[in-house]
Amino acid sequence: MKESTPRTAVSILAAPTIWIRPTRGWGFANLRELWRNRELIYFFIWRDVKVRYKQTLLGAGWAILKPSLGMVIFTVVFAGLADLSTDGVPPPVFYFSGLLPWVLFQDGVTKAGNSLVASSNLITKVYFPRMAIPVALVIAGLVDFVLSFVVLLGMVAFYQMPVTPAASLLPLFVGLAILAAMGVGLWLAALNVYYRDVGYVMPFMLQAWLYASPVVYSTTMIPSGIAGVLYGLNPMAGAVQGFRWAVTGVGAPPIEMLLSSLLVGLFLLVSGVLVFRRMERVFADIV
């Protein structure tokens, strides 16, 4: 039967062997596989940005408009009507610099959390590391972030604010926001496949989280010591306050708060990856 098949000499050496068998228990992310698929992650990022900018009238304008509108509202309500302290920073800069890492986190969590359900047609048809989708969507938020960061730099220049050594820590705080967004995003993405309630809960959770983070107020209102550590359990506390401090040079976050934010952020990421991996094997069956 086989004699009739014309065969060409194909190198077998290059062919990787794949084993298909049931997996059990917990396992950490197959980071090597994720790395092999880095181009796919890149294409997912590129698709998200491209489609979003193509479909909307203002395109990239929304990246700037979104935190700007938030800034205007906060300036009128909290600085104007409620007369809340902004640590002596001009209110627009105070709110805008607080909103940037927050929007990065909020958009990342929202998009990652809905990503698997939204890509169900892909997940049930083709194999690829599923983690590529939520990871790409969180990173895609950086494009918007960079655009509005340029606006923030303009505002800092306008108010002639000095650049302090704290500015060198900027990447750390942006990284912390990304870390937290990925951790929470992976948790919610996996849970959303099982429980569609997650999609409904997310907006409320994020709204509460916004006020639990120092976006409209400063952590200088929080007593230091054990209260700071407890407050820092919210990883966005460290990220938002730190980012604002790095930009304006005012309101340094206490070190114990920063550390607890960082640790919780790492914990969220590691546990998110574990939960995601654990649930990943049945995504295609139930999504």
Binding site: K2, I12, I18, I20, T23, K125, V126, R196, A284
Partner: protein, 422 residues
Amino acid sequence: MTDTVIQVEQLGKRYRIGGTPGGYQTLRDSIASLGSRLTRRGPAESGDTIWAVRHISFGVERGEVLGIIGRNGAGKSTLLKLLSRVTEPTEGQARIDGRIGALLEVGTGFHPELTGRENVYLNGAILGMKRAEIDRKFDEIIEFAEVERFVDTPVKRYSSGMYLRLAFGVAAHLEPEILIVDEVLAVGDAEFQRKCLGKMNDVAQEGRTVLFVSHNMSAILRLTERCLVLDRGRIAMQGPTAEAVDFYMTAGDVATGERRWSDEAGTAADSPFRPIALRVIGPRGRIAERVASVEPITVEFEYQLRIEMTGLRVGLYFSTSRGERLFTSFDTDASEDYTHWTTRPAGRYMSRCQIPANLLNGGTFVLGVNASAFRIRSYFTEERALTINVDATGAPGSHWPEPRGGPLRPGLVWEIRGVDDP
């Protein structure tokens, strides 16, 4: 040297059924079932589960084109999903040497807002291609898809034909060592199908392995050397394609002589047409499992209409055991019947026809039935309702004891006469 690229051993996949039809749950369901789950632990829920496939073992050699056939729900798609790693098996294992490219549904991952060019790159990446590879193959893909003029147009403006060709083009040019193709040929026009079959043939000629799932028996016969026949999640048979197709078309639970349909419940609205029985009647008026080709064969189809129907036609599909359709005939094909039976009141009916003597060759044939209103609604279809064994003893030309090729062996009227030289 054996060069097995796919080795499947005792592969099985169990799905949970019932309770949550959509698969996912809401928190409310989980909280509600928490109590019962705490009290009875372990895999006691076997009553709610179903094995989509089980005890699947087979091997595929390099360069082989393997067909997978079976009815709907036989487990073909589940098997392909397991092999393409979309879902994990519950038991067993499979070893695969080489990169797999799965073409499960044409255009999966295409984004309507993106242009043809952008979608080729995105789709290629999803299917596992490196960017450099896509660069190299880009012109070829575009040429295959015949969309040169529209590469920078969003695919939402494409015709469905362009869309299909582009999607198939990306997958077919992926150059995986193993290509999995599931029913792509069910969509698209004849030209598209011809093109895809040609491309798949090329892929096989290059020594790559192809797993091909289709309901199109002539495509299976043309492209594959060997087939698996799946039936209710198990391998019912595996062997050379001709034998496998013959087995699929005739064996299993396909009746001979008479086929009766059980009286299943259903409302008049959702199943107004209820099949009762399909029979093959021999010359002496009895149900026959084996008929002679030299005698006329009567086929009768009994059915019930629960409501009055307009424009109904009831007919037969007559196919060879290899799945090739020989002819289709409806009870209102004759114009006087067509005008007389424009409406049929509710009640029991029998549509009967006679297949003339000296038409069929010896062999096994497959009868299917269809009841439909042309371009309005198909009420009932069963492609393989009954098989007929035809004995060609005494057929025209029997004095030469030689096999005659072809499914038909008609007694034609020949005229022989001498012609004078002018």
